[in-house]
Structures are given as C-alpha cells and as structure tokens.
C-alpha cells in the first residue's frame, strides 16, 4: 500500500539514511528506531510531504505520491512533534477545526473522543490552561476520531502518563488489527509479539552506509 524505494536523505552534508526501501501493507506496524538526531523525524516528515530534502520515490496505492498528493493526504493522519493545538481555543474548538481539515476524523463525536482521553469536563477550558500532558491528549484525541487508513506518529507518547500510554498503545494495536497501517517513532517498547511489529533502526542503517553501499534487504527485518 505504502511503498518507499531508494529513499535517501541528506542534511547539512550528512547522510541520514541512504537507499531505504520498505513497503507497508494493511495491518502493518512499523517502528522507526534510532538515537536523537538520527533522522527519525526527518523520515516521517518526508513521508508526509513536509520535507523536500530527499531523493527516491514514495508510492501510495501504487501511485507516485508527488503526483497524487491529495489522494494520499486524504488517507493520512499525522501527529507531529508540535501538537498543532491553538492555546487560545478550547479542546472542543481545536478538534472541531481538525475535523474541518480532515474529513475522516469522523469515527465518533468530539465529546466521546475527549472522554476517551480523560478530558471529560475540560471541553470548554482554553488549552493554555491545560497541562502539557493534557494538551498532548487533546492532540491524541484525533486517534480516537480517526478513520484514516494510515497513521504517522512522531513520538506520540511524549508527556503522557503510564496509563495513557497503555491506552494509546492498545488503540494503535487495534487500528492495525482492523487493517490500518501505522508508522511511529518512540523510545517506548511495545509489548507485542515479534510478528506484528516491524522495526527500522536508523543507527544500524548509518553504519551500513559507511561500509557497504546498498543493503536494502537488511533494512526490512520482518
């Protein structure tokens, strides 16, 4: 469904990754690993079309994403480093705007989603009055609202408490089991059987770049 071929990215004369190849099918969960500064966020931003510092091709449903961008964006939910939450607006107003932007945030009502993330009673509080974790929860309420097939999540569990992380983890697993796809970066270890989760380690990748030129088969360890 999502296919990446020969993806190479270079920032400030430093190769972050080279000749990265993988494909993601319905039901796949892909975790991008690597130390700080290894290019995890850059990779996700490239996949979302938020960065142009790359060469290589990205295909969605066998169509080149650069040609069919609206089709791809229709199917994509991206949760980035920045929450995308307006501090002056309430949680409900923020989510209502998100729904305007992404028509597929339609799985349940906003009230239900806010209940799910434990913000019942905070609907009308401006987001600047919420804690960092609560603001993150507002942003993550989109996961409950979403019926997008592809989720791309950049460190989604930052500032979330343990119980919250378990709930979001369960939600991601449910999404994948129902035929969705998810790519995420997190330092958190998923408590899942090996078959259900695939990993790409950008650090190991960086090592192989210096020694061998192309090692695509190694990159995708299933």
């Amino acid at each position: 469904m999502l296919t990446v071929t020969n993806l190479t990215s270079e920032r400030d004369d430093r190769i972050l990754f080279a000749n990265l190849n993988f494909s993601l099918h319905a039901g796949d969960l892909l975790q991008i690993e690597g130390q700080n500064g290894s290019g995890k966020t850059t990779l996700l931003r490239i996949l979302c079309g938020l960065s142009s510092h790359f060469s290589g091709k990205i295909y969605w449903q066998n169509q080149d994403v650069s040609q069919q961008l609206p089709n791809f964006l229709q199917a994509l939910l991206y949760v980035g480093h920045h929450a995308g939450i307006k501090a002056a607006l309430t949680a409900e107003e923020n989510l209502r705007w998100m729904q305007r932007l992404h028509p597929l945030l339609n799985r349940c009502t906003i009230t239900e989603a806010l209940n799910q993330v434990g913000l019942y009673g905070y609907e009308d509080v401006p987001c600047y009055a919420l804690s960092a974790g609560q603001q993150r929860r507002v942003s993550l309420a989109r996961l409950y609202l979403s019926s997008h097939p592809l989720w791309i999540l950049d460190e989604p569990f930052t500032a979330i408490d343990k119980k919250g992380v378990l709930e979001k983890e369960a939600l991601i697993v449910k999404h994948v089991q129902q035929g969705g796809m998810c790519i995420l970066t997190t330092h958190h270890d998923f408590d899942l059987p090996k078959q259900t989760i695939r990993r790409i380690n950008l650090d190991q990748l960086a090592h192989t770049i210096t020694s061998v030129d192309t090692t695509p088969s190694y990159l995708v360890s299933v």
Binding site: G49, L73, Y78, G80, H81, H82, A88, L101
Partner: protein, 222 residues
Amino acid sequence: MNFLNAAIKRELLLALRNRSEIINPLAFFLLVITLFPLAVSPEAKVLANIAPGIIWVAALLATLLSMDSLFKNDYDDGSLEQIVVSPQSLALLALGKVISHWLSTGFLLALLSPVLAVMLFLPSEAMPALVGSLLIGTPTLSLIGAIGAALTVGLRKGGVLISLLVLPLYIPVLIFGAATVQAGALNLPISGHLALLGAMMVFTLLLAPFAIAAALKLSIRN
C-alpha cells in the same frame, strides 16, 4: 466555500481571544497621527495639506507591522503543518487568513480614519475619498504583506526582511491611495483613482492566495 467560511471564523475567534493583535495596529495608527500636529505644526492649513499622506503612510505601516505575526504562531505551534498535511486547499486557507487579518486591521483603520482626519483638519469633502481609498487599498496591502510573511515564516528574524520584500510593492498603493484623498480634498473626481486601487485589489486577490500557499509550502518543506 464552506472551508473558507470556517477558516475566517476561526481566525476571527483567535483574534478576539488575543485582542492585542487587533489593538496594536490601531494604537500605532492613532499615536503616529496624534504626534504629527505636535511635531510639525498645529496650523490648520499645513496639516490639511499633509493629512492625506500622513494618514496613508500610518495605515500602511500599521498593516506592515501586524504582518509579521500572521503565520508565525501557526508555524510555531504546528497548526500550519496540520493544514499542509490535510487534503484542504492551502490557498483557500491563506485567503481566509488574509480576509480575517484585513477585517481586524485595514477595515478598522478605515473606520477610525475619519476621526483622525478631523484632527488633521482634512476638509469634510475628502472623507468619502479617505474611507473609500482605505477600504479598497488596504486589502491589497494585506494580500501582498501575507506573501512576504509566508516567505519569511521559517526564519528566526523575519521582521525586517518582510519590510524589504514588501515595501516596494506597497508603493503604488500608497501613491494612488494618497492621491485619491488629495483629489477628494480639492473636490476633483475620485472615481478614476478608486478604480485603479480596485484593479490592484482584484489582481492581488486573484493571484496572491496561490503565491502565499506556494511560499508557505516552501517555508515548511525547507
């Protein structure tokens, strides 16, 4: 159209919640114009002569000052990213932002201008020309300014750069705007001047949203 409406409503709501964005340009406009009689001369004849120029220059600078923050907040908190990864049109959103920006600056400046014009002894015959030229001229300023703001949004200190980029393009509007008011004060027909200002507005209204969208994408993907 629905999306444009929603975008304008959201921006106006944000402006209302954060009132300094509305008050700052108005206060600047008011202060500059009240200082002129003190510094130049309180004589009615002198002030009436230079009033069209003063009011137009003050309105132009007030608009320019408010441009810097147009996309900055959205860029910093990640809302802009979310818009770029959504299937909605970025040009339409840019148009919505500019319209609400104009409503909260240029439109209010035009409404306030007759009061200040009286202070500068501008003859009452010139009032329609003053309000008319500001109403038709300031949207062009907002639209052109937004292109500059979009180009510099990714830079840490874009404020001065916006002025350099945008001021040359503001000059025709300033010339014809001030000329309209001068013609009005001399009881000459003003429809020709207004038509030219109108033509500039229509031209930028048609093309600027696409330029803004392209500039925003450039700033984000870099």
